[in-house]
Amino acid sequence: MSGKTLEIRHLNTSFFTQKGEVGAAKDICLEVRPGQIVGIVGESGCGKSVTARSVMGLVKYPGRVVSGEILLNGTRITGISKKEACSLRGSEVSMIFQEPMTSLNPVIKVGRQVEEVLLIHKKITKKEAKKEAAKILEAVGISDVASRMECYPHQLSGGLRQRVMIAMAMICSPSLLIADEPTTALDVTVEAQILRLMKKLCEAGTSILLISHNLGVIAQVCDYVYVMYAGRIVEQGETFTLFDHPAHPYTRGLLGAAKSLRSDAGLLKTIPGVVPNLLHLPAGCSFSPRCDSCMDLCRSEMPDMLPAGEKGHLTRCWRS
């Protein structure tokens, strides 16, 4: 298969607050190819969730997509009608969320919540939908499906609930699955299971856009990674290249912090300073106040994405 499952071109999504327009995602260009797992990594508030929600058309009020294009399997999905968007959501592109505890409706049985997706998008009877739902729930590794379908969400564990969420997302076999921090709320063993499941799904033909602040998770499953900082992509590249030769000082800082976490010797390494307020970004490169190799140029002008060594490895840093 050729082409791209998802292509985002120069996306800008802003929140219109009383204190002014806040650019949460700025000039995002991103691609997901068929059969790929693509990761977006960054601190909380850097715009990764907003980017994902922009694709789904689920940006929360008072935010909205200001400009840019999003293409799904080559078709433009920005600016389509609400009805068309609804028919895509859940069937062509679906999403799972961070909190499996609160992402399922507490007063509806989980079986019905899974069936619901089919009933929205396909013309089938309730009975068939139930059968299908049981099949997919079994496929995502839930045992004792018949009785679990009759359960309410609060009766299931976090891992099970996230499996239910995945089943719901996969039941119409979408071409793209967006996973927003799917394992953050789970413990480590369950995390590994869920990641394995996602890899399996990907091998079965669904492309995945995985959002995480956890570098370990990204390293384990992703083919290609985007690093975001203060609403912009600051570095992108093949997972191994990027992890072995980080070109942007922010990525280096992230990796350093993660590494110092794993080794037991010495102090915990951190990146100095705090994430800037999106409403009042510093002039020039957003990272410049925290950067240890900052130059005068950095404080006056924001760099474009520049090539950094290997093919496909780009970074938004003047020093590359």
């Binding site: 689920l58 909190e99 399922l104 509806i108 619901e116 929205i120 998008h121 969420m165 719901m168």
Partner: protein, 307 residues
Amino acid sequence: MLHNALQRLLQSILVLLGCALMIFIMLRIIPGNPIAVLMGEHADTAVIERMTAELGLDQPVLIQFFRYIGGALRGDFGTSYSLGKPVSALIASAFVNTLILALMAALFAWVLGVISGIIAAVKKNSILDHLFMGASLLGVSMPVFMTAMLLQYFLSFRLKWFPIAGTDSLAGFLLPAVALGWNSAGSVARLVRSTLLEILEEDYIDTARAKGRGQLGVLVLHALRNAMLPVITMMAIQLSGLLSGAVITETIFAINGIGRLAVQAISARDIPLLQGTVLFSAAIVIIGNFIADSLYNVLDPRIRRRG
């Protein structure tokens, strides 16, 4: 679950008994012999004493209380001093009128309140939202007697659309019901709006959207059912409010209901009647609370299984 319900039932009965005791004590600490007050200054002391003994008012309060409860269990709430009829019969005939009034008021309040609350929440910050919320605040802030008298003055007196008072036909109930429900409609609308807004922020609403549900589907199938839970609790609270308001509305529109009976009992210093009406109203509130609790338990699976 059954165990839970039984426990709640038992608790309700205890609260009702507590209510009876409290009202009993309150009406017995008033200084002076109620019979003497009733018969006026010129009554014969011997007659007063005989009457007092006959009604058991010379006994200690606690003994009187247990007698009263014993009688109440057999459906005997004593005899009205002023009207000379059994209190239970008086309440029974008045209750029908109050029930019709309260039901119509509740219907009006709920339909108006829920619909405008939903519209206001969905169209948050629109003109419609501001309009509805302004109207509902006005509703909450208007004293019942004001609404009642305005309706009476304009719709009955000026336009002659409705009878001024009395309950000869069901139309006679219409204005009192609107006057009584107007208040509750405001608070229902506000509660529905705020709960719905809160729920529309929940993660599972995003999930429903991500499934491809449209605006209406999300609202009806996912949000409303959750939003109804606190609203049901409010229903029980409003029952008490409706009965309070009924006192005023019934007085203004001359409806022979429980509230008016209580007012009559006070002006006639008719203790058995006052006791009966107030206790009966408390019983209705307690039963309403019990039903609301049970309903909540049925609708919210999280509570259902926990018990």
